[in-house]
Amino acid sequence: MTPQPPDPSEPAFELIGISKEFPGTLANDRVDLAVRRGEIHALMGENGAGKSTLMSVLYGMLRPDAGTVKVDGREVSFASPGDAMAAGLGMAHQSFKLFDSLTVTENVVYGAEPRRYGFVDRAAARRRVAELVEAHGLAVDPDARVGDLPVGVRQRVEILKLLHRGARTLILDEPTAVLTPSEADALFGVLRSLTDAGRTVVLVTHKLREVLEGSDNVTVMRDGRVVARLRTADTTADEIAAAMTGRSVALDRVYETGAPGEEVLRVSGLTAAGVHDAELTVRAGEIVGIAGVAGNGQSELVEALAGLRQVDSGRVMLSGRDITHASAARRRVEGLAYVPEDRHAVGTAPAASVADNLAMGHHRTALSHKGVLPPKSVREHAVKLIERFGVKASSPGVAASALSGGNLQKLLIGREIAHDAPLLLVEQPTRGVDIGAVQNIHEQLIAYRDAGHAVLLVSAELSEVRGLADRILVMYEGRIVASYPKGEADERTLGLAMAGGVDSARPEAEAEPVVPASRTAPTARPEETAQTAQTEKGA
C-alpha cells in the first residue's frame, strides 16, 4: 500500500507560478514552491501571508487563477481533497478530527475501512494499524480509546490516518500548537523517521524554534509572495523573523522585573470543575504568568476568577473584598478586567461594529448616564481607543470581523486596559497574532503593570511567559505544581513541570510567595517524579 516513488530525484510536488486573487487582494502572487522528496520543509509566514491559500490550492480546496501543480512530476488538477489524497497527499489540520469514544484503529480506518464481503474487516483493520505503528515506530496502542490518550499521542493518530490512506507527502498545519516542548520533540522524531523512509513532510507553522530544529529547508512568505528560501542549517531565527515581517524584530525579549506593591488578588484553596486547590497571589505592579499545556486547568481557573465558572470551594479576594461567588458584573465593578482566550467566541461580537465592541463594559460606566447610552459617546470612545491602541480599522462603524487577528486582539486588550481595573486577567494574548503585533501587545501589558496594576497572564508560549512574568506558576492536571521567580526557570525546567515532572506539593508558601518550588520540591530524576504525579492524579 505504500507505492515507491517513481524517481527519487524528482520533487515530491511542485507549485509553479501559482496566483490566486480574491476580491481586493492577491493572496498568492506567482508563487513557486518545490519540495524535495524526503525532506521536512517548513512553510512560514504571518497570518495573511498566503500560506493557507497556497496549501488549499495544493490540496484541491481552491482552484488557482494561474499556475500549475505537479505531483511526482506529473501535472495535476485536483477538484477536491479526495483527488489530492488519491495522488498521495495528506493534510492534518491544527485541530484534531478524531472520535474520542472510538479506538485508535477505528479512528485510523474511518472512511477507508478494509472490507470483507461488504462488511468492515475489523481484524484486518487492526493488523493494518499495528503494521503502520510498527513500521514507523509510532508507539501507539491500536486498541486504546482515543479519549484516554494524551494530546501528543492523538497527534500520532492523525498521522496514522494519513499514512493509512497512503499519503507520501504529509502537510501538517501548526502541528505543535497544543504540545509540550517534549511532545513536540517526540513529534519531530516521528517526522524524521517518516522522511528517512522516503516520505515528505510540509510544516505550516510560525514557531521559529521548531523550524530551526526540525526542518531541512524553509520557505518564507509575505504578502502573497515567497520572500525567502533558506536552508535551515544556514539560517538563524532572526533572519527568518526579518523575512516574515519585512523588518528586524526583537524576539523573545525579556522585560525588566516590575516593582510589586500591595496584594491585589489572593486565591486560596480554589476548587472548581477542572481546578484543584489553587493558591496564588498577584500584587500591584506585578505580572504573574501561568504556564502549562493547553487543557490543564488554566482556562478553568481564569473563568472561575472572572465569574464565568462556579466555584466549589476556596476563596477569591480582590483588593481585600471577597468575590468568590460574585457575578461577572459585580467583579467588574470591584475592579477586574479580562482578556479571554477566544477572542472571536467570547471576547468580541464579530458581527457588531468596532465601536460597539469597544463599548462593552464601558457602556455601564463611563459612556452612559442613567441608562441612556448616546451613540455619539460610543463612537467618540471608539475613536479614542482606536487612536490610543493603534487599532487599524477604517472606521468605528466597520464590523469587528473585518479586522485582522492582531488588530482584533489590540481592540480587545485596549478595551480591557481602558477599564483601568486593578486586576487584569489575560489569556493567550498573542495566540494567532503576527510577530509584528506581538511586541506591541507585550509592551502594552508591561506598561499596564508599570502603572501599578496587577496582571495574571496565562499563555501556552513559554517565551512569552518568561519574557513578561515576574513570577511563573505552572499548572498541571488542574493544580498549580510549581512556582519560579523571573529568570529562574529555563525552558527545560518549565517544560518538565508542564509535563507533571515535579512534586505536586503546594508550591506557594503563604508568607513568602516568591520561594521557587524547585527549591522545596525534590530534584530527583524526572521520570520518577513524573510517575509520582501520575499516581496522585489517579487517587
Binding site: 497570518n47 515581517t245 467566541a345 461580537a349 463599548a359 457602556h363 487599524k392 488588530n407
Partner: protein
C-alpha cells in the same frame, strides 16, 4: 438614518430587498402560468390595500401585525424566540374583556384599565415561560410554545362558561358597555390602538439605539457568550425581555377586544394568524426596529390587498401567501448562501488582512 445615500445603496444590496424582489418576480411567473396578467394583479393588490377603500383596513390589520411583530422582535433582538405569542395575545384579550365588563369605574378609566390589564396578562404569562427557561432549564422556544396551548384552552373555557353571553349560541362574551372602547379616527376602523402600537415601535427604536438595555440586548443577540463574559445577566435579561414581549402581545389582544367586535369571541384573535405573520416580519427584518415596522406594513398590504385582488381579478388571494412564503424561502436561502460563502472565504479573509498586518 444619518446618511440617506449609502443607506439606500445598502437597502438595494440587502438580502431583504433581494428576497422581496425575487418573490415578486416568481409570483409574476405563477400569475402568467395561470393565465393572469401579473401587472393587473399586483395593481389590484396595491389599489386594494392602499387605495381610499383599503387603507383603513390595511392600517387595522397592520396594527395587529406590527404589534405581534414587535412582541416577537424584542426578544429576538437578544437571540430569544418567543413562540407563545398566541397564548399571550389571548390572555391579554380575555383579561381586557373581563376588566371591561366588570370594572365599576367610568368608561374612559375602564378602557385604560382594560388596556393595562391586557398588557399585564400577556406580560405575566410570558414571564412564566421565561421562568421555566431560567429556573428549570426548559428551552424558551419550547416553554413559550407549549404554554400557549393551555392559555387558548383557558380562554375557550371562560367564554363558554363563566363569561358566556347569556342566550347566545356563540362562544363569546357579552358586548362591552358603551364607551368602553378605543376611540376611532372619524368613521374609520382605525383606532387609538394603532397609535399605541406605533408608540411601542418608537419606544423600541429608542431603547434599541440609545440605551444600555438596548445595547446589551443587541450584543447578546450577536454573541451570547460575549455579553455573558462582560457581565450581562442572562436570566434577568430573558425575564425582562419576555415580560415586555408578552405585554405587547397582551396589548394587541386588548386592542382586539376594545375595537370591533367589542367583545371576546373564541378564536377571533388567533384565527387571522397575526402571531405568525408577525414572526415572519420580525425575522425578515432581523428584529431591527425600523425594518420590523416596514416588514409589518408590507405583510399587511399583502394580506388586505390579496382579498381585494381576489374580488377584482380571478387570482385567488392565496397567491399573496405564496409571495409571503417565497420571500421567506429566499431570505433563508440567501442567508445560507452568504454563510457558505463566508466559510469558503476563510483563506480570502486571511489574505484580506495583509495590508493591515505589518505595522503593529
Amino acid at each position: 438614518m444619518a446618511t440617506t445615500l449609502p443607506a439606500a445603496a445598502r437597502v438595494l444590496r440587502s438580502p431583504v430587498f433581494f428576497s422581496v424582489a425575487a418573490a415578486l418576480v416568481i409570483g409574476a411567473l405563477f400569475l402568467i402560468g395561470t393565465g393572469a396578467d401579473p401587472l393587473t394583479a399586483y395593481q389590484a393588490v396595491l389599489t386594494g390595500s392602499l387605495g381610499s377603500d383599503g387603507i383603513g383596513s390595511t392600517l387595522t390589520t397592520g396594527t395587529s401585525v406590527l404589534g405581534m411583530a414587535l412582541a416577537l422582535a424584542i426578544p429576538l433582538r437578544a437571540g430569544l424566540i418567543n413562540l407563545g405569542g398566541d397564548g399571550q395575545l389571548v390572555l391579554g384579550g380575555i383579561a381586557a374583556v373581563a376588566v371591561g365588563l366588570y370594572s365599576p369605574l367610568p368608561a374612559p378609566l375602564t378602557t385604560v384599565l382594560a388596556v393595562l390589564a391586557g398588557m399585564a396578562g400577556g406580560a405575566l404569562y410570558a414571564a412564566l415561560a421565561a421562568l421555566c427557561d431560567i429556573k428549570f432549564g426548559v428551552p424558551l422556544l419550547v416553554s413559550s410554545l407549549l404554554l400557549s396551548y393551555p392559555a387558548g384552552s383557558l380562554a375557550s373555557y371562560l367564554v363558554r362558561y363563566p363569561l358566556k353571553e347569556p342566550g347566545s349560541s356563540l362562544p363569546q362574551t357579552e358586548r362591552l358597555p358603551d364607551g368602553v372602547a378605543l376611540p376611532a379616527f372619524g368613521s374609520s376602523t382605525v383606532t387609538l390602538g394603532l397609535v399605541l402600537v406605533a408608540l411601542a415601535a418608537v419606544a423600541y427604536h429608542v431603547v434599541d439605539s440609545r440605551t444600555t438595555v438596548g445595547y446589551e440586548m443587541r450584543m447578546t443577540g450577536l454573541n451570547r457568550r460575549f455579553s455573558a463574559y462582560a457581565g450581562v445577566e442572562r436570566g434577568r435579561q430573558t425575564l425582562q425581555l419576555m415580560a415586555v414581549s408578552g405585554a405587547i402581545a397582551g396589548l394587541v389582544g386588548a386592542v382586539g377586544v376594545l375595537t370591533f367586535p367589542f367583545r371576546f369571541l373564541d378564536g377571533s384573535l388567533t384565527a387571522p394568524g397575526y402571531t405568525w405573520t408577525g414572526l415572519t416580519a420580525a425575522l425578515l427584518a432581523a428584529a431591527a426596529p425600523l425594518g420590523t415596522v416596514l416588514a409589518s406594513f408590507f405583510f399587511a398590504v399583502l394580506q388586505v390587498g390579496g382579498l381585494s385582488m381576489e374580488r377584482t381579478t380571478d387570482v385567488p388571494r392565496e397567491l399573496t401567501q405564496v409571495l409571503q412564503a417565497i420571500v421567506i424561502v429566499f431570505l433563508a436561502a440567501r442567508l445560507r448562501i452568504t454563510w457558505r460563502r463566508r466559510k469558503s472565504d476563510e483563506p480570502q479573509k486571511e489574505s484580506r488582512k495583509d495590508p493591515r498586518k505589518v505595522g503593529a
